[in-house]
């Protein structure tokens, strides 16, 4: 276990034999993973291994072709109808997504809204939160990610690192049960990667449940409870970071780590 690992709770995310095809290319070949409350799981692996596709399936930004994904005990994106899975209505998919925060590689902040508006938009429009209260909470969140003085600033005037921190605050504003990070530092200049990772580490230590697709091995070593190695659409190795980085079992993991470390 890593240094500050909190006590883990119940299973929050359960993926079972998830399959995904893009045309004839099968990108996920039966991926199964359980993530428990307060756990931080880092997914690593070479590009094209399916790790991004996998976490996009978790909030149904991608449909799946086989298996099932449950978050908080609810099947994601599908309903069971006489033993078969059929895609759920837009309304209930949207409701499920309010439980799952997502941070994207390229931030995807809304450029026509200030940092504060980016954070308040979904709580107000989706959850029906009181505007004033949402703004106060957003200020607290932005302060937490170190941007309390940037509330009125538009994304175009923020650095990449600042934008990504706003994006994290925006996702947190929905009070999600689970946070997904899709290579959150891959589009950043090296000098600002640290400030984003610091925010994420703090989140992990505070007990947020997180699934992080990343190439930052330092972060994985520091913040992860478990590291998952994916290759060719499959999970090939899972383990706590000490074990994972010191004594990987699988050959492909060794090869990958030797290239990247």
């Amino acid at each position: 276990m890593s240094a500050a690992a909190p006590v883990l709770g119940d299973v929050i995310m359960q993926a079972t034999d998830v399959e995904k095809r893009f045309g004839r290319l099968q990108v996920l070949k039966g991926v199964s993973l359980d993530v428990r409350q307060r756990e931080t799981v880092c997914i690593i692996g070479p590009s094209g291994s399916g790790k991004t596709t996998f976490i996009r399936c978790i909030n149904h930004l991608e449909k799946i072709d086989g298996g099932r994904i449950e978050v908080n005990g609810h099947l994601i994106g599908y309903r069971e109808k006489s033993g078969k899975l059929v895609e759920d209505t837009e309304r209930s998919i949207a409701r499920q997504r309010t439980q799952i925060g997502m941070v994207f590689q390229r931030f995807n902040l809304f450029p026509h809204m200030t940092a504060l508006q980016n954070v308040t938009e979904a709580p107000v429009r989706v959850l029906g939160a009181n505007k004033k209260q949402a703004a106060e909470e957003a200020e607290v969140l932005l302060t937490r990610v170190g941007l309390g003085d940037k509330c009125g600033t538009y994304p175009g005037k923020l650095s990449g690192g600042q934008q990504q921190r706003v994006a994290i605050a925006r996702a947190l504003a929905m009070k999600p049960a689970l946070m997904l990070f899709d290579e959150p530092t891959s589009a950043l200049d090296p000098e600002v990667i640290g400030e984003v990772l610091a925010v994420m580490e703090e989140l992990a230590h505070e007990g947020m449940t997180m699934i992080v697709v990343t190439h930052e091995m330092g972060f994985a070593r520091e913040a992860a409870d478990r590291v998952v190695m994916m290759d060719d659409g499959q999970i090939i190795e899972v383990g706590p970071p000490e074990h994972f980085f010191e004594a990987p079992e699988h050959n492909r993991t060794k090869q990958f780590l030797s290239k990247i470390l």
């Binding site: 949207a94 997502m102 994207f104 429009r125 703004a135 509330c151 600033t153 005037k157």
Partner: protein, 260 residues
């Protein structure tokens, strides 16, 4: 050659056009603005239908553009005004329309026809605007639990507006000139005004030169307004100390100002 022009007549038409001309000018502006607004809404509806998952919507949207871009506006105007009467024996457009400040039926039919025609062109412009927005914006909105209608309204369309406004301005320029066609169903607007004068004094060159100048004045004024709007859009683009165009137009977001 130029000696053939009766300068006095031209001078009078341009500088002392009289009250009737003012009424005709207002009418042209009114019809153009109303038809353009109608066109924007129809275009938006058609653009959204085009992107629908429900194929009959996509089909209808395609049919709409195919038909109204493929036939002359003047024919469409005739059909809207006289069509139901001649084909089905009832009058679709009454002689007087009570709303919109009281219009005669012909002007109303003209607005309707021009607006429907315009919608077919606006659909393409609006679709291009929506397509220009990064796909990540819709994904981010969805990941926050927004449904696609809300995401469209709050996230995509406000951004697409920046892309849509310049070609929309050009469309309106066109609309003011095309609106002259409603003179054929008897609407008293700028061109009709010119025709009446022409049949009175048989001075075609002077009369039509004067009416050309009237339209030129309208389009020139509009191009100034248009460039102002565009400049404002460009300035407010992602700047933190400028109030955005959307905020200026609709007064949104002001409660959050001055917090930082």
């Amino acid at each position: 050659m130029l000696a053939a022009i009766d300068w006095q007549v031209l001078y009078d038409r341009v500088f002392h056009p009289g009250h009737v001309w003012v009424v005709a000018l207002e009418r042209t502006v009114y019809i153009s603005v109303a038809a353009q607004i109608l066109g924007v809404f129809l275009g938006l509806a058609a653009a959204l239908m085009r992107m629908s998952r429900f194929w009959p919507f996509r089909f209808l949207s395609g049919l709409y553009v195919w038909f109204f871009r493929g036939t002359p506006v003047i024919v469409q105007i005739f059909f809207v005004y006289f069509g139901t009467n001649l084909l089905f024996g009832f009058t679709l457009i009454p002689n007087q329309v009570g709303w919109l400040g009281g219009l005669d039926g012909a002007a109303f039919a003209g607005i309707l026809a021009l607006g429907i025609n315009e919608g077919a062109y606006m659909r393409e412009i609006i679709r291009a605007g929506i397509d220009s927005i990064d796909k990540g914006q819709m994904e981010a909105a969805k990941s926050l639990g927004m449904r696609s209608t809300l995401a469209m309204r709050r996230v995509i369309l406000p951004q697409a507006a920046r892309v849509i406004v310049p070609p929309l301005g050009n469309e309106f320029n066109n609309m003011m000139k095309t609106s002259s066609l409603v003179s054929f169903i008897g609407v008293y607007e700028l061109f009709q005004d010119a025709e009446v004068h022409y049949s009175n004094d048989f001075k075609p060159v002077e009369v039509f030169l004067a009416v050309a100048l009237s339209y030129l004045m309208l389009t020139t004024v509009w191009s100034f307004i248009q460039s102002r709007i565009e400049r404002r859009l460009a300035v407010s683009d992602r700047s933190d100390d400028e109030i955005s165009f959307r905020e200026r137009m609709f007064g949104e977001g002001t409660i959050l100002r001055g917090r930082s």
